[in-house]
Symmetry: C2
Subunit: 317 residues, 2 copies
């Protein structure tokens, strides 16, 4: 029986292992995807999601997250939410509402408080140190302040054929107060339909939303494309279109899985991701832009993994 999960970046690995075990033991796509994202949100050394996520230019961690049920198409989203440990769980709770299912800013935070979600100061000492260092660098070197916008986005397929999608991010490092990206936006940051498949995005949200890339990938799968074909055909022509029409294109990476557990990715940067299905246990893979608008996928090396561990735990100075 088909089941599986795919998620963006190396940081998904520990959560994806857990989600895989849940799916294997007949737990739901919705519970598994939430668990996957919760693991990433709680780990302080991942600096673009949840606790330990990098703050906005005012030093405040504002988070965006979404949850979508592929059976019902129900969605919940939060954006610019503050002080909540598990933004994706708030989004999932909102997906049960027919009205008011997308809440932003203080309204989103109030919803989380009223509904008993765990509240905490999301700014770790490490994140604060990075923010202070960055402020100094920008002042001294006249740098473009914006980099770092790695969203955790994941798709799950359970043994009953149900699918779910979810995202969570602290967004662009040094963003302006109230800036939101693609992660909470239906069709841009995520989309899933259990009768077809799902997709999720990471990268520069401002550019991803110009192309509604997650929705586009799902529609291509609906018209018979494999997830890899759908990713390649949605993402690479759009990046060329954006360069031609808008003059430039930011970093864009997407992952997709269909309701058979087949998967695909596309990216214009070095992009790690994690995947597992009924045929193969969880792996961390590396994608790069290949020849002729295709995606080159390789196993990630032990050397890369060691360097990653070292990097995320390195002292901030």
């Amino acid at each position: 029986m088909a089941f599986g999960t795919i998620a963006t970046w190396r940081m998904a690995a520990e959560g994806l292992d857990q989600a895989y075990k849940m799916l294997e033991s007949n737990q739901s796509a919705a519970d598994s995807v939430e668990k996957l994202i919760n693991e990433v949100e709680a780990y302080p050394y991942y600096k673009s999601v949840g606790y330990g996520g990098l703050p906005n230019e005012e030093g405040v961690v504002q988070m965006d997250a979404a949850f979508m049920n592929g059976d019902t198409l129900a969605q919940g989203s939060v954006a610019a939410i503050e002080n909540v440990l598990h933004a994706v769980s708030v989004a999932r709770s909102l997906s049960n509402e027919h009205f008011n299912s997308f809440r932003v800013g203080r309204g989103a935070t109030k919803y989380a408080m009223k509904h008993g979600f765990k509240m905490t100061n999301m700014l770790t000492d490490r994140a604060k140190a990075r923010w202070e260092r960055r402020l100094a660098e920008i002042r001294e070197k006249d740098l473009n302040p914006y980099d770092g916008h790695d969203t955790i986005g994941a798709i799950t397929l359970d043994k009953s054929g149900s699918m779910a999608a979810a995202t969570s991010t602290s967004g662009l490092f040094m963003k302006k107060d109230g800036r939101i990206g693609d992660s909470p936006l239906s069709g841009s940051g995520f989309y899933v339909d259990s009768e077809v498949g799902g997709a999720a995005a990471t990268g520069l949200g401002e550019d991803i939303m110009k192309g509604c890339l997650s929705y586009e990938i799902v529609k291509l799968m609906e018209r018979g494309k494999t997830p890899q074909q759908a990713c390649d055909e949605a993402v690479y022509p759009f990046i060329e279109k954006l360069k031609k029409r808008y003059g430039k294109a930011g970093e864009i990476s997407l992952v997709a899985m269909n309701n058979k557990g087949e998967w695909g990715v596309a990216t214009n940067v070095e992009f790690t991701f994690c995947v597992a299905n009924q045929n193969k246990e969880p792996r961390i893979l590396m994608a790069n832009l290949g020849k002729n608008s295709t995606t080159k996928i390789e196993p990630v090396t032990q050397e890369w993994l060691d360097a990653y561990e070292k990097r995320i735990h390195a002292p901030i100075n």
Copy 2:
């Protein structure tokens, strides 16, 4: 030479007349669509957009708006912004930013303040009276508090072939603090590509975003459908899908125009709209769901128009 504009609801009429004159005299799609929306935002008797818009459950008017340039695909959006007279103009200003182009809540309001946009208390005495009456009704009659969510959404095509799309709304009457709908969301509330056409939505945002309907219509036009075919084929099957999968579907209406000035609409309610192009001067038309998933379009009667005028100016008691 082709040019034209289409916009949601009777309330667009005065603004669309002005946009039409601008387009006729070679002004840009972007300037024309902003002017169209600004007229609606400033008119105090339209109770779902801008000044005079109905407040959220706390009595605060929070607005959502977006602007998209069909040449470059650049977008700007604001959501849950407060005290700004012309939310769509703030969105247009944000569309010039590559980063931070979608701002919500206090961050959106701060951007408007810093950039010199006109700030004012958007709660009129009439809107306040309606809010107070509604609170009492809900308390006394145990009513579902939510109704009223008429977004102004518009598409423009200028004589140089450029297109633009924009939306503005005060959202669902009695919404929760920070609730946002589809209007500021790319692909759901709006989408436009000058090489194809554009679409904009009004209705229950929570359901429209489940289907990314504006993007879907533009993609259908790209694959050769007329705007009317694209509207019918995107909207009616989605509404059936939503009823089957989600169990219900809210009010959904869309307008579309392609880059030849041809237009289409689809709706599951009685839906007025305004349209004009190189062949026909501005008209107010009425759409209803027709037979076999098509749209029935008729001129709006003088009787209907008279009743509308009377209704929007009626005393609140």
